[in-house]
Amino acid sequence: MNEVDNQSANIRPMKSLSKIWLVPFIAALIALWMVYYQWSSQGPLITIEFVNAEGMQAGKTKIKSRNVDIGEVIAINLNDDTDGVLITARMTKEAEKLLVDDSEFWVVSPQITHAGISGLSTLISGVYIEISPGNSPIDKTDFVALVDPPVTPIGTPGLHITLNSNDQFAYSKGDPIIYKGLTVGQFEDIFFNFDERVVYYNVFIKAPYHKLLTTNTKFWDVSGLRIDLNSDGISMKTGNIETLLTNGVTFDVPKGMPVGEAITQRSYFDIYANYESADDLRYKQSAKFVVLVSDTIRGLKVGAPVEYRGVHIGQVESTNLRINDAPNKLNTEDFEIPVLISMQPGRVGLPDDASGVALMEDQNKLWVKQGLKATLRSGNLLTGSLFVDLQHFNELPVKEIEQFGGYAVIPTMTNEFAQITDKAGKFMDNLNNLPLDKLSNNANNLLLEITKTANELQGVSQSLEQLLVDANKEKLSEQLAQTLQGINHLTKDLSSGSTGYEDLRKTLQTLTETMHELKPLLNQLNNQPNSLIFNSGQQEEIEPKGLKSIKRAGDKP
């Protein structure tokens, strides 16, 4: 037992940790590495606010830039006010730099507009969110998406400008800006200024056409097909094929106007109804006169040309000028309609400033005293549109120039039609004044006398005719009878069975018989011309042979 007790155990230290534990440890390390890798490689989490989440699905809808996946929607929730949708999306690491303050998001879905069809691929793949990266240096993770795709992506070279119009044009987003038929830009968005009651259009002109924009550039409407039927006739204009279907605006610097300075930042321009309106506004100064019209002014419109010997020198400003100091009383005579016209000195080469206006006013006043008159003329017979024509009538000078409403008055002449009707009226008056009654009475008497004379003449001629008939009848009938008798004798002489006829017939018969007898002789002479003179030996006549002769000839050896 003691030996047993004295035996001491050989105690060996045991290993506290088994090697098997290395496996889970390594696995844990790998997992940690994977978590880190995942964490370190994933991009930021962003939120985008949309009006609605139509077509989007969490975990499925992608965020793309230039058709490259750069993120994915991971959650779709209503916002706090429940008036929109808050999309939470995980972006890739590479997309981090795209998430700046002015970056824009919008949903790409199938769209059919006048500009074309887009987003057809989303019919199969489902909608996706497109990002237009901004240029801002400020990072951002919370965005508000655009309702519609932007017309011009951010960063597109060109120039943004603003057009305005208080006319009734109706441009919409995407409508083209035309320059000499080329589409060089488009309408981006529209807003209405309630205070000014003016519609403003933000427009983008893409490079390099934005260099065409200068301080003197004018914009005017070229929507659809424009047919002008004015005093110059009929004209049709359009911007290009696109503007035939949609609205559009074109721009240019009016002819003869300096180009002006180039525009480098957002500027404001007016949209005019047409080129003529835009062009007219190049002349800032004008001399104004009043024309008092006693004819009708139907067909005379504001803007109608004022021409001096065919040169366009101004336009009609108002067709029925209202003046404040009009006398508050009844007119004893007819009212002459005051038409305000303006004449731009710039149109005739005079300086477009106060000095040019003064010179033009003085010149016109001088001419008015020497007989310058205004006439309303018809520019187009089809439409009846009128224009004001200034002409010199040297035989009708004016001593003193009238004033109306503070404007010098240019005297008027009645228009062509009125002149014609006036002359026609005078002619009719003269015609009425003719003593037609007396003339007709005299003419009646004359006709009666002529009729009487004619009757007498007819009686005389009848008597004369009877006389001649009586005188000729006997002689003529006698001659006629003799002639007929002669013809009768002649016919009898020549008729069948008559002596003359028989003689003629006998003569012909004798002649025929003679010829008949002569024929053998002629035949003989034809065969033998000398037979009448020389004895050539009479040939025996060949005669028909009878059967007997033939038989006899056959019997001979």
Binding site: I533, E541, P544, K545, G546
Partner: protein, 188 residues
């Protein structure tokens, strides 16, 4: 003298196709004005060129003819043929009045006979031939016209033109019989 003297003039014989004695029988028949009898108008068309001349013709060979110098027709052969034919037809057919086309009495014909002659001459083989065709047509347009070809010939027993003329006359008689037969056939 002998050289300059002219030949003695050859004696010319003249012939009539129709036999005058037989033609005198025609007045014995009925008057032509009896319009109840059928009227047949015989018209002989223009003769061939070789017969349309006074000399009698003799055929020497197949394609050779000879005009007799001293034997001539006393009247145009066409007239002689027409007279002989009418004479025979009227003599043999008392119930029908045959008239020539020149005999215009203003009477409408019932039947008209158009006679065309191709050959009518003697030859050196002792034969005389008469050939051609004739048309029978009715004044009544409802009936069709009839065309008949004829080829008649006879032999010459003796020599000479006189005998050949007599034989030619017999051929005309045969033709008259043939025409009369055809008329009687189409009248039935």
């Amino acid at each position: 003298m002998n050289g300059c003297s002219s030949d003695p003039l050859t004696k010319t014989s003249r012939y009539l196709l129709n036999n005058q004695q037989k033609s005198f029988k025609t007045p014995m028949k009925k008057s032509l004005l009896e319009v109840t009898s059928p009227i047949v108008v015989i018209s002989v068309k223009e003769l061939p060129q070789y017969l349309n001349q006074p000399n009698l013709v003799l055929q020497l060979a197949s394609h050779q003819l000879h005009y007799a110098h001293a034997h001539v027709w006393a009247e145009p052969l066409k007239e002689g043929l027409s007279k002989a034919l009418l004479s025979d037809l009227n003599a043999n057919n008392l119930a029908i009045n045959f008239i020539g086309e020149k005999n215009d009495f203003g009477i409408e014909s019932t039947i008209s006979v158009q006679l065309e002659v191709d050959y009518f001459h003697a030859d050196q083989n002792a034969k005389v031939i008469l050939s051609g065709r004739y048309w029978l047509s009715f004044s009544n347009k409802g009936k069709p016209a009839i065309r008949q070809e004829y080829m008649l010939q006879t032999s010459l027993e003796t020599d000479g033109y006189l005998h050949s003329v007599e034989k030619m006359r017999t051929l005309v008689k045969q033709l008259a019989l043939k025409i009369a037969d055809d008329i009687s056939v189409i009248q039935e």
